[in-house]
């Protein structure tokens, strides 16, 4: 994109806002990345050692894909917050910033560094400061460490995940609770910015990974609060809808759900089981949930006769929610091959010094203030000199950073050609 194009392009809803990402790893940095997709200018502030996930496997040209995927579109600077000179620089930057997010294990870390909210609110009363800790401030777990797998165990996720009647298990290679935490942080920041837009000052918001994980499981905790049992692993089945699980076909598995009575009727028509319509055991969703085992036996027998692809085509034509379980392909091959993902542009490739990076596209669409597919992540300290030269003027800083982005993107596209 040339600088002329940049100027004329429609801008994201957060254009003109300056966000400082003091985070590491996931829940803080991802939230900041989302704000960047929404148009904010995001500066990642790293220690001289860099974000710890820069080194985590797998690597692309030596840099961790976790770092790359979580820091797209940001500008980079390095501050050694234990040096008084850099601490002063941090405060100058915070003075012109709109948002600061950090996700140290405990919110005390920023306080000890001299960057607690009590100090910063005097420097910049309009600052939205989000502290995203592991377990929240105070309480018996205050200083304990957290990660995705510990969260999955402690939040109850693992107790309701696993093969039916087997032991609970954690997800081995996804970090969806981390991402859920980042989603929560993002909505908190936006709500605090709305509050500020409506005439209030900035504010301090403390979230926790533990709290966010439990909120992410709200539909399951609702069952316990309604007096039902605490749940157990059910394979692919659910507690409140039937059918809503995967069935074995001639060549694999297909997941099928009937969220409405019409879906149920369409499903049994496709399966050639219209007679079930009159079976009182299966007449309502509630009845089907209670008779799930008998129901699945009837449906399984039909599903086993044909391939997943054949069932998929017919079920989709009948508007029954379904999805084929693909195992042989890699995740990316599977996603790239999904016609719906291709048609909606949910997945994209981003040019970077490490090569093309596969990434989500922005997960919202705006009719008037479009979100943008982000640019490459920053090298460690890449934009330090630009930040240093514009420490006291937000608009000048944002402008200078955007100009640098255009130049580096021009260079990347030239290299690609």
């Amino acid at each position: 994109m040339s600088s002329k194009q940049l100027k004329s392009a429609r801008q994201g809803p957060l254009d003109g806002l300056l966000v400082l990402d003091f985070g590491q790893a996931a829940v803080g940095p991802i939230a900041a990345e989302y704000l960047g997709m929404l148009g904010a200018t995001v500066i990642k502030v790293e220690s001289p050692r860099g974000d710890m996930v820069r080194q985590g496997s797998p690597l692309m040209k030596g840099t961790g894909t976790t770092f790359i995927g979580n820091n797209l579109g940001k500008f980079g600077m390095v501050l050694d917050l234990k040096s008084s000179e850099d601490l002063e620089k941090a405060k100058n930057l915070i003075r012109i910033a709109d948002v600061l997010i950090e996700n140290f294990r405990s919110s005390d870390v920023m306080v000890r560094l001299g960057l607690g909210y009590d100090v910063l609110k005097d420097i910049n009363p309009d600052l939205v400061y989000v502290s995203s800790s592991a377990y929240g401030s105070g309480g018996p777990l205050e200083n304990m460490r957290s990660n995705e797998w510990l969260s999955e165990a402690l939040s109850g996720f693992a107790s309701v995940t696993g093969a039916e009647d087997g032991a609970g298990e954690i997800s081995r290679g996804t970090a969806n609770l981390d991402w859920n935490g980042a989603m929560m942080n993002t909505v908190v920041i936006l709500a605090a910015l709305v509050r500020r837009a409506n005439g209030k000052s900035g504010c301090y918001c403390a979230t926790s990974q533990f709290g966010s994980s439990v909120y992410g499981g709200i539909t399951r905790f609702a069952e316990v609060l309604a007096g039902q049992s605490p749940g157990r692993p059910l394979g692919t089945a659910s507690t409140w809808m039937a059918p809503d699980e995967a069935f074995q076909t001639l060549d694999g598995y297909i997941a099928v759900s009937a969220p409405t009575q019409q879906c149920w009727l369409n499903l049994i028509r496709v399966l050639g089981l219209d007679s079930l319509q009159d079976d009182p055991r299966f007449s309502t969703n509630h009845a089907r949930v209670n008779a799930r085992v008998a129901l699945c036996a009837r449906l399984s027998e039909r599903f086993s006769r044909e391939t997943s692809a054949e069932w998929h085509e017919r079920l989709i034509a009948a508007h029954v929610p379904c999805a084929v379980v693909h195992r042989s392909k890699s995740l990316l091959e599977m996603l790239d091959g999904h016609p719906q993902i291709a048609a909606t542009g949910a997945l994209c490739r981003i040019a970077s010094p490490y090569g093309p990076v596969a990434s989500q596209a922005p997960h919202w669409t705006f009719s008037r203030s479009p979100a943008a597919i982000p640019a490459a992540p920053p090298l460690l300290g890449e934009h330090a000199s630009i930040v240093d030269a514009n420490l006291h003027d937000k608009q000048a800083l944002i402008h200078a950073l955007k100009r640098a982005r255009v130049q580096s993107q021009d260079q990347l596209s030239t290299e690609a050609v």
């Binding site: 809803p13 109850g156 989603m183 709500a191 709200i218 609060l225 969220p259 996603l335 016609p339 919202w364």
Partner: protein, 345 residues
């Protein structure tokens, strides 16, 4: 936890059937907005599916209204409600909305500042745009289930409805971002989220990992083929242990729990070995682990190795956990409700 008022003054009209729409309203309501939810008392168009427990939580603090859909003045009533509404949140299909005169083009001119927040399952383009979606179908289609269960057995879903819940959160993000833009431009707009796009977003860690790695190392790209990870089974609970990269501590811990042969095993005394073989430890230590009470193991892991150990809690135990109580996440009462886990000052 104090009642949050970040969104006080904002009025939301929710017309939704699924979890995602109800969750969007829940988030906005928890953050201080006034949320009006339109429902039908009959088995009509807006009938909430069953009396699923989820809706007791998601709709707890909303004002529920029951306009008579069959009445002649239904549309006029609803149009009246639209006056003063900032966000209209809906997950109904376009055709139904259009039939009711509630598609965006119907409202755009008469309510220029309205932020119209549309939630779909599969997105608004593409071959599946008119298909219903479910939590499970999107989990499967987005690959979220690839890292659960055994690779040669039946698939396993994630036990939390993370796609639906996060689609609701994403919808709230979009509405709030559009509100900030309206503040500058004085214009409303249509915003849209889908369960599929949200699920892809939740998968970013694994997606980026497969871009073009130098080597296929790291659990995002290797763990699909691992056996299910149930953690360690000690005398009274299953648990997970993390020594935070202190790989030198693993041999000591293994010796201490009674497995000296494993302590000397090269698979478990280097970070390279542990990266690959760590998942084998629960099975190999099973006989010794079951002799340990969780409390003793916890003391050992925390105090001697500065590690973290957590039990697998069932959902009741989570709600009773003193940390959840400390966070004030459950508003007690006849119908206890889960509130947004955030503290503000």
């Amino acid at each position: 936890m104090n009642q949050l008022d970040l969104l006080s003054g904002i009025r939301v009209l929710e017309l939704s059937e699924g979890i995602a729409g109800a969750m969007c309203g829940k988030v906005l309501s928890d953050l201080g907005a006034e949320v009006i939810k339109v429902e039908s008392e009959s088995d009509g168009r807006f009938h909430v599916k069953g009396s699923a427990a989820a809706y007791q939580q998601l709709d707890a603090h909303k004002q529920i209204i029951y306009p008579d859909i069959a009445a002649d003045d239904f549309l006029a009533t609803l149009q009246e409600i639209f006056d003063g509404i900032d966000f209209f949140v809906t997950d109904l299909c376009r055709k139904d909305l259009s039939d009711m005169g509630l598609d965006y083009p119907d409202l755009q001119e008469s309510h220029a500042g309205l932020i119209y927040c549309y939630i779909s399952g599969w997105g608004v383009n593409g071959p599946l745009k008119d298909c219903e979606a479910s939590e499970l179908s999107i989990q499967i289609a987005s690959g979220m289930t690839r890292y659960l269960g055994s690779s040669d057995g039946p698939p396993v879903r994630q036990g939390f409805d993370l796609v639906s819940v996060n689609t609701g959160i994403a919808a709230a993000q979009a509405a709030l971002a559009a509100y900030l833009w309206r503040h500058q431009s004085h214009k409303g707009q249509r915003v849209e989220v889908s369960m599929l796009a949200t699920a892809v977003a939740l998968m970013q860690w694994s997606i980026a990992a497969e871009s073009k790695p130098d080597a296929w190392q790291g659990r995002q790209v290797t763990a699909q083929d691992w056996p299910p990870d149930h953690g360690f089974l000690c005398a009274d609970t299953r648990c997970f242990i993390d020594l935070h990269g202190n790989t030198k501590a693993w041999p000591d811990l293994l010796r201490e729990i009674g497995c000296p042969e494993l302590a000397a095993d090269p698979r478990f005394n280097s970070s390279e070995g542990l990266d690959i073989h760590g998942p084998e430890l629960p099975a190999l230590t099973a006989a010794q682990m079951k002799k340990w009470a969780f409390a003793d193991l916890e003391k050992l892991v925390r105090e001697k190795y500065d590690g973290t150990i957590v039990p697998v809690l069932d959902l009741s135990k989570v709600l009773e956990h003193p940390q959840i109580e400390h966070l004030g996440m459950i508003i007690p009462g006849e119908k206890p409700t889960i509130c947004f886990p955030m503290e503000m000052k």
